[in-house]
Symmetry: C2
Subunit: 300 residues, 2 copies
């Protein structure tokens, strides 16, 4: 049964959805007896380390919007979180961003051998597809369409392509077009896929899917602009750094290219475009509306 | 149209099949305009670097055996080669086997930055699923069943699990059971999946699939025993090392555990079991029979 929205605050809704998703992830991830214990533990360490579960929550909310039962999209939602988690694990590796902390915990390759971290990422990506293929809540066509959306959003034409462009642009001045490409692909593609996969699981029609794709693109763009703004606001408070210095250090962001005010306008426009795409729906789309506003106003 | 076998020697058949598969891989891999050029080139570098194409050839041969047209299994065959190639790329990384050469060429991370190698592997794994989901030669149920077989064979309960067990066992004495686990999962699982996916693409029934699974397990085991025997024979010739020294260095192999003679017997038994599984079929299974014998007698 779909989680009621109006009787709860939005924060309570997010907490309740996260709890449902975490329980489902726990059921779907391998345990110690299913494969080498090190692999099972590494896959669980990163997936269960926390995170807002934004992609699975979007997936469930889109399923509800087109009239589906959220339970029908629950495994799909978990597959999206597995793909997101694998991308974080690989992105944090020494050969990529070389990060020590993720979601408030040491990164996977700081706790397990680096080879295990690579394999845990590979295992999560593969498991995402296994979960969809084996999901009894989906008919064969739905499973196939979700696979197509998921692989397109996650692969060379989506997330992996965006990560490669980000890697290629490291330490270089990049054009506004290159910045748009990186963000639209690295972050935007999987956010949009999350919405569309939920709509397919909820048996949405072609018109629903077209509108929700527009919604997804809007929140994807908004998410990234807000991220860049938070970076600057956070850094300004902590380090007293100005935007000019940020730009001089070669880090291209929305504010460094367009300035803070124009970036805030672009953020508002992206949110407005997302909300506009939902106007045909009534209260069944309220979670998607609240998520869009949340993306524009979140403080971390 | 299925490639005739009887009019050609087996070697000519392998060459002809490889040519068909390479042309299809070339069509399915991204080009420079489809994603960052570095990513497209890295994905192509490793996939087109050569290799026997054993998995896709098995897939096509299994499709033919159950009465299907090999063209219906061609994209599936390519997906199998993409998964095999991704596993080699990640396995060769410094954090894993740290290999400099693969298929007679420098490994991907020696030619491209290591981060690009990781992403190219991720891109190939994801593309394999995109290819299946988008393959018009398959109906929705076939696509779903192939996805399930492929993800099971490639993931934590298959290939990735075997690679993790191999990594965990490095530099340690491992039991015969652990050796069986590593080989059955690291190599055997994807070889078996190759046969089964071909049978599904060729619309094989449950009985066909059961028999071909037995065939796949037999050749998977034979492949690994033969690999171990070739290692020893090759090393003996080149280095004058004895098996006893191999065992003392802590490298567990079939011959080091059971001795050369018993390993050769196990190899023959595995091939015989594979051939036995095919006895219900006539000449349509000849390619699978020839492949089984080839696996037992190959010299590299």
């Amino acid at each position: 049964m779909n989680q009621p929205l109006r009787t709860n605050t939005f924060k309570e809704y997010l907490v309740a959805q996260k709890k449902i998703i975490d329980a489902a992830l726990d059921r779907l991830l391998p345990g110690d007896g299913d494969c080498p214990r090190s692999l099972a533990r590494a896959m669980r360490y990163s997936t269960m380390a926390g995170g807002k579960r934004l992609r699975p929550i979007l997936c469930l909310a889109a399923c509800r919007t087109v009239g589906g039962e959220e339970t029908d999209a629950l495994s799909t939602a978990c597959a999206l979180e597995m793909i997101h988690t694998y991308s974080l694990i690989h992105d944090d590796l020494p050969a990529m961003d070389d990060d020590d902390l993720r979601r408030g915990h040491p990164t996977l390759h700081r706790v397990f051998p680096e080879g295990t971290a690579i394999l845990a990422g590979d295992g999560l990506l593969t498991l995402a597809f296994e979960v969809i293929a084996g999901d009894r809540a989906l008919n064969d066509l739905q499973a196939r369409l979700i696979m197509l959306e998921l692989s397109g959003g996650a692969g060379y034409s989506g997330m992996v392509g965006g990560q490669q462009a980000d890697l290629d642009g490291e330490g270089q001045d990049i054009s506004p077009e290159a910045l748009e490409y990186i963000h639209a692909h690295k972050t935007g593609a999987l956010l949009t896929a999350s919405v569309i996969c939920g709509a397919i699981a909820g048996d949405g029609n072609q018109e629903d899917i077209g509108l929700l794709r527009r919604y997804g693109r809007g929140i994807g763009l908004a998410f990234q602009i807000k991220d860049d703004l938070l970076d600057i606001e956070g850094e300004s408070e902590k380090l007293g750094k100005t935007i000019g210095q940020d730009a001089k250090s070669g880090k291209s962001t929305y504010p460094s290219i367009w300035g803070i005010e124009a970036s805030r306008e672009k953020l508002d426009q992206a949110i407005a475009s997302s909300l506009e795409a939902l106007k045909a729906w009534g209260e069944e789309a309220d979670p998607l509306r609240r998520i869009a506003r949340y993306i524009g106003t979140r403080e971390k």
